[in-house]
Amino acid sequence: MNTADVHQRRQMDYVASQAADARLNLEIETEGMTLNIGPQHPATHGTLRLVARLDGEQVVEAEPIMGYMHRGYEKLTEVRTYPQVTTLINRIDWLGSFANEVPFILAAEKLMEIEAPPRAMWIRTVLFELSRIANISLFLGDMAVQLGALTPVFMAFRDREFVLNQIEAVTGGRFHPNFDRIGGIKDDLPKGWINDTKAVMGRIRDFCDEFEELVLGNEIFQARCRGIGIIPPAMGLSYGLSGANIRASGVDWDLRRDGNEALAYNQVDWKVWTHPDGDSFARYWVRLQETREATYIVEQLLDGLPAGPIMAKVPRIIKVPAGEAYSSTENPLGEMSYYIVSQGDLVPFRVKIRSASFSNMSITPWLLKGVFVPDIVTILASLYFILGDIDR
């Protein structure tokens, strides 16, 4: 169906039901209620605020208000050297921190015309996927807890811990590795890490299997998610939705496969998962499959890890030649990209950070029209945003 049609029909349905209620409401003198959700609210995991005008339990209009965590990274990057910037941008999507560094480093490498050695690229890709697992496994538990099931989130935390341990073993940081460098990575893998990681990947697959049964197979979960928050593909694209959110609408587009960044994804055999439904259930399903797929990617990468140096020759003090470069990768939350303008200094002249959650959330005013209050939670949870990724 055409996007405009879907949009229009939804609106017409809603207008009709409003009109039907209007006379009754006039007679008994009711008025709408404005409900303020957040900035401190369990469903917003962070400080998002949602002002919803309600008619009973139905949302007439909902407007997200953010900025409670705005840290001004685009301004701050203008007074920091390139290596210092990675420390900062680690904090954008704090659940999959390493993935934030990669597109920035890639863009800087483009400007400097440096290419990281293959081993560094492969390790980057491995860590990228590990941070994806660390990020999305939490989503898998969190969405269940938003829907009222208490137990899955603890299982998610339990198994995520193993992934974080592996990340920590390499980078020294559980949450904020700051490990990527222009021209390569900081250190090589520690001894025995490859086998440990493979064991952890097996664990994560068990975790995925368990969740497929425990959460996806649950009738109540399906009843709460199926048909809730349907995003038509064209609508999603024009709002800039990316990542699993748009793949759940049937758009077969993954920057790991389709992007032109020099990571090692084209060296391994993997699959992009899509789902035709576009509802909350599809988004959960796609993310679960992607987590499992990521474990296969990591295993293959570890099997084929090339030997060699992990650092290209880079000057001690990094001065980036003048120019503009753009780099985008498929981060756990969606497309993340950096547009760097350099004027030949130690610091970037301007950095535009395109974070996935900001665009993903921009569809919510449209999506939340006419849903019920419990569905707000379902939709927000299934769109999966990290506050740091919205507010930057």
Partner: protein
């Protein structure tokens, strides 16, 4: 203590002639003591320990042996907290609401029999009375939701009202099967009927009604789950949507009252289910008038109650939450027709056999 001594003690207690007001006071004190004990027990065994083990963690371990005194510590903590009234709250109603909920719980305990003589009040309409007073808690919840002057609380209160009223019906209809089979509303006689009953002529284990009324038992459990506002029916307190619903503005000991009310009611309903479906305090092989059942009965009833409570809490920790409309649909389109069919079938068997 020898059995002979126990027997004489029991006899002496039963033979004691005390004024009416003294016996009333003793009974009241007893029930008032049982509720916090029951709430603490369920809270510790299920909320703290069983849930923790299901979620691959240990739960509290420090307060008392194996963390068993944690809830006492929590209770003391609640008592220390400031008693906050929201500025625009209706103070009287706000203060009364937790008491109303607690009193509703209190009144159920009055009729639950724990032995041939160990019952506070043996009513002819016992089960009818129990279900009637249990729905009083709706009033308290509505009061709390309205008086808090909070939109979340109001939504929670309204959701609770809709839900509890919808699930009164399957609750009562599920019990109807038991009542038809036992031929009485008196809980004490329901226990006796199960101990003396026969299943198609065989009386080896009596006739716990769970065997013949398994449909009723299932409906009763589901409806109880909704009455207790526990997952998968916890929309009135859904913490990820309306942040605790009607409880959101309560602090300190008033919140403790809600907590006790919740777990006390859970225990009461589990005990009711044990009495109606599992044979209550009786064992099928004994002489029910024997004095020893006054001592052993409470223990037997407790074990059966915990078995039912395990089921109730297992659901609670496993399932996600339904939506309000789905909940109503389940009640009106599935549970009520099913329980009506159950009544008809029970009636046919009752007449035919």
């Amino acid at each position: 203590m020898t059995p002979a001594f126990l027997q004489s003690l029991t006899g002496a207690v039963l033979a004691l002639e005390v004024p009416y007001w003294v016996s009333s006071a003793i009974k009241l004190g007893l029930v008032a003591l049982v509720i916090p004990t029951a709430a603490l027990m369920l809270g510790y065994v299920f909320l703290l320990k069983m849930m923790s083990f299901m979620q691959s963690r240990l739960g509290p371990m420090e307060a008392g042996p194996y963390g068993s005194l944690q809830l006492l510590a929590d209770g003391v903590k609640f008592l220390q907290k400031e008693d906050i009234f929201p500025e625009k709250a209706d103070r009287t109603v706000f203060a009364l609401a937790p008491l109303v909920v607690l009193i509703s719980t209190f009144l159920i305990y009055v009729v639950i029999p724990a032995g041939p003589d160990a019952v506070v009040a043996q009513l002819d309409v016992g089960i009818f009375y129990a279900l009637a007073v249990s729905s009083l808690s709706v009033v308290g919840i509505l009061m709390a939701g309205w008086a808090s002057a909070n939109k979340y609380a109001l939504m929670g209160g309204l959701r609770a009202a809709g839900q509890l009223i919808a699930y009164e019906l399957p609750l009562v209809l599920a019990v109807m099967g038991v009542v038809i089979q036992a031929g009485t509303l008196d809980l004490q006689k329901i226990v006796t009927a199960q101990a003396h009953g026969e299943i198609f002529g065989w009386g080896g284990i009596g006739n716990p009604f769970i065997l013949t009324q398994f449909v009723g038992f299932f409906i009763f459990l589901v409806a109880v789950q909704a009455e207790l506002t526990q997952p998968p029916f916890d929309m009135p307190v859904a913490e990820s949507e309306i942040v605790g619903g009607y409880q959101v503005e309560y602090t300190g000991f008033r919140f403790l009252f809600f907590f006790m009310g919740e777990f006390g009611t859970a225990f009461a309903f589990a005990a009711l289910a044990a009495v109606m479906f599992l044979g209550g305090w009786a064992l099928p092989w004994g002489d029910l008038t024997h004095w020893g059942f006054n001592i052993a009965g409470p223990v037997i009833l407790l074990i059966k109650t915990l078995a039912v409570a395990t089921l109730i809490f297992w659901f609670r920790f496993t399932y996600p939450r339904l939506r309000e409309d789905q909940l109503q649909r389940l009640a009106w389109k599935f549970l009520i027709p099913l329980s009506l069919v159950n009544i008809v079938v029970t009636g046919i068997f009752k007449v035919a056999l």
